[in-house]
């Protein structure tokens, strides 16, 4: 932390590009966070905490080659820290409705589809934290196994076995189709 930044209160308006990053990535980050933690409020908390840290260290974040990738790494690291804690502090200043929504999430596409999605999300949240993280990173963010292994501090083979176990658990719960006859999200 530089001497100047030590005495300067962090403001989004002063951080060139921060608001654009929030506008572009807060929705996807929230989606990813939903898969990493076990409740909607924890997901919101996680996203807020990561964005706040990014704002405080914006000089470093914005100097990264891909700031979006940088904050996503922060999100995963923060989630790992989150799992370690029994509970976290929470700022409840923003209601879920105020968060930027992704297009598909905002569509009212019927109770059946919502039911399927809720069931999958519920089953996902029942998985052990690391299995859940592997599935989210591998299938939602399409992160290569080697990078997942690096992010989560596990071997690539463990990433693969965690993914397999996670998928098997979701299939046992009936929220994913079998490999031979995958069940699409209706």
């Amino acid at each position: 932390m530089s001497t100047t930044s030590l005495f300067r209160r962090p403001r989004a308006a002063d951080a060139a590009g921060f608001e654009e990053l929030v506008a572009a990535r807060s929705g996807p980050m929230l989606s990813m966070a939903r898969g990493l933690v076990r409740s909607e409020s924890d997901a919101e908390d996680l996203v807020q905490e990561v964005l706040a840290k990014a704002l405080v260290s914006w000089d470093r974040v914005s100097a990264a080659g891909d700031p979006a990738a940088y904050v996503n790494r922060m999100l995963v690291n923060q989630a790992m820290s989150f799992w370690r804690r029994a509970s976290t502090r929470r700022e409840r200043a923003v209601e879920p409705a105020e968060l930027p929504e992704d297009g598909a999430a905002a569509l009212d596409d019927g109770a059946t589809q919502r039911g399927d999605r809720d069931a999958l999300l519920t089953a996902l949240r029942r998985l052990p934290a690391r299995h859940r993280a592997v599935l989210v990173l591998r299938y939602y963010e399409q992160v290569p196994d080697a990078e997942i292994a690096d992010l989560l501090g596990m071997a690539p083979a463990t990433v693969r076995s965690s993914a397999a176990r996670g998928l098997a658990a979701l299939r046992r719960d009936g929220v994913l189709g079998d490999e031979d006859s995958p069940r699409p999200a209706r």
Partner: protein, 362 residues
């Protein structure tokens, strides 16, 4: 290169160097997960080659949407809080540096003064070194008095280590009362400092297990440090061990035992697997970490990966120390046995007392 056979009977799922191609089944999983997590259903994006975390191709990223001002304001408020903590840490660091300089000056200058006196007395009159050592005077002694704020070098020389320890403790920043990486010997790998923060003003949540709630305490001061294993030093597939320490200064000595009693009372509700994949929570015999004149509570569980986890609550006077530990020991009891010395150090640091948890018999 195919990976080892995975639990589904496949041969490792994907190739490491081809991880972006998930196959038809993988794409279905991707679509289902994106729907469940509330992400855009964009086939082009869903089938995009894998990238780094968050580094999906720009064309596949959802278009930016206006961010509510209230959301940005909430992020700014939280950032301001983080910033204040960093400011406090930086200022405390500067104060500590000044204190160290002053203390070193108090230690070094008397020796210089003594040497000067001894040399002078020896060469001029063949006088005894004893008189020089016990009666510093002249410019060096003036500097000593100035530098140590009037405490003078005789304080250190006369009262020995105890006085020196007290002076250093008084000048030390709050973070000095927390554990450091060097204090943690409970794991098979070294740990590193992952951050210390002053959480004064916040509540300390109490819980016996992940989904439990035993209320909170509102301490007068609350500090926290995170100590984590360096992933580079871990064997493949190992879960990184780590430790979170919180030190709470309570408003009264009665609050600590009450807090422990509340957590203990919640324990019977923690008999099943937790939402995070954790194992049932059990209470271990806390005798090895129970401080003299204080209380301790040790709860054990397992992480989602099966590693032993411990929550150790130590109460001594109006100080409450909470240690949350993920261990790489084979079982919880071994993890506790390995943690005793660290727990003792934590409590001694937090209370400033050196007679808290009795040392084990050799």
């Amino acid at each position: 290169m195919n990976g080892p056979t995975d639990l589904s009977g496949g041969t490792g799922g994907r190739r490491d160097d081809d991880s972006g191609h998930l196959g038809a089944d993988g794409r279905d999983v991707t679509r289902a997960l994106r729907a469940a997590l509330g992400a855009p259903q964009d086939d082009d994006e869903a089938e995009a080659p894998g990238g780094s975390a968050g580094a999906r191709p720009a064309a596949g990223r959802p278009a930016a949407r206006p961010v509510p001002a209230s959301f940005l304001a909430a992020v700014e408020r939280r950032a301001a809080r983080l910033h204040r903590r960093r400011q406090a840490g930086a200022l405390a660091g500067a104060a500590a540096a000044v204190a160290v300089v002053v203390a070193l000056g108090g230690l070094v200058l008397p020796q210089l003064g003594s040497m000067a006196e001894s040399s002078s007395a020896g060469s001029a009159a063949g006088g005894s070194a004893e008189s020089a050592a016990t009666a510093p005077s002249g410019p060096a002694a003036d500097l000593q008095d100035e530098g140590t704020g009037g405490a003078g070098p005789q304080t250190f020389a006369d009262s020995g280590g105890e006085s020196r320890q007290g002076t250093t403790a008084a000048a030390a920043p709050p973070s000095a009362a927390l554990l450091t990486a060097a204090d943690v010997t409970a794991f098979s790998v070294p740990v590193q400092d992952a951050g210390t923060s002053d959480e004064t003003g916040q509540q300390l949540p109490l819980t016996a297990c992940v989904e439990g709630d035993a209320g909170v305490v509102q301490p007068l001061a609350l500090r926290r440090t995170d100590l984590t294993a360096d992933p580079a030093s871990l064997p493949a597939a190992a879960e990184p061990p780590g430790l979170v320490e919180r030190v709470a200064t309570l408003g009264s000595a009665a609050e600590g035992p009450e807090a422990l009693a509340r957590v203990e009372a919640q324990l019977p509700a923690c008999t099943g697997p937790g939402l995070e994949g954790t194992g049932p929570t059990t209470q271990l015999d806390a005798t090895p970490v129970t401080p003299v004149g204080g209380e301790a509570l040790v709860l054990a569980s397992t992480s989602g990966q099966g590693s032993p986890t411990l929550q150790v609550l130590l109460v001594h006077g109006s100080t409450l120390v909470q240690l949350q530990v993920t261990s790489d020991a084979p079982d919880a009891q071994t993890a506790l046995d390995q943690l005793v010395d660290t727990a003792r150090t934590a409590l001694e640091r937090a209370t400033g007392s050196t007679s808290t948890i009795p040392a084990r018999a050799p």
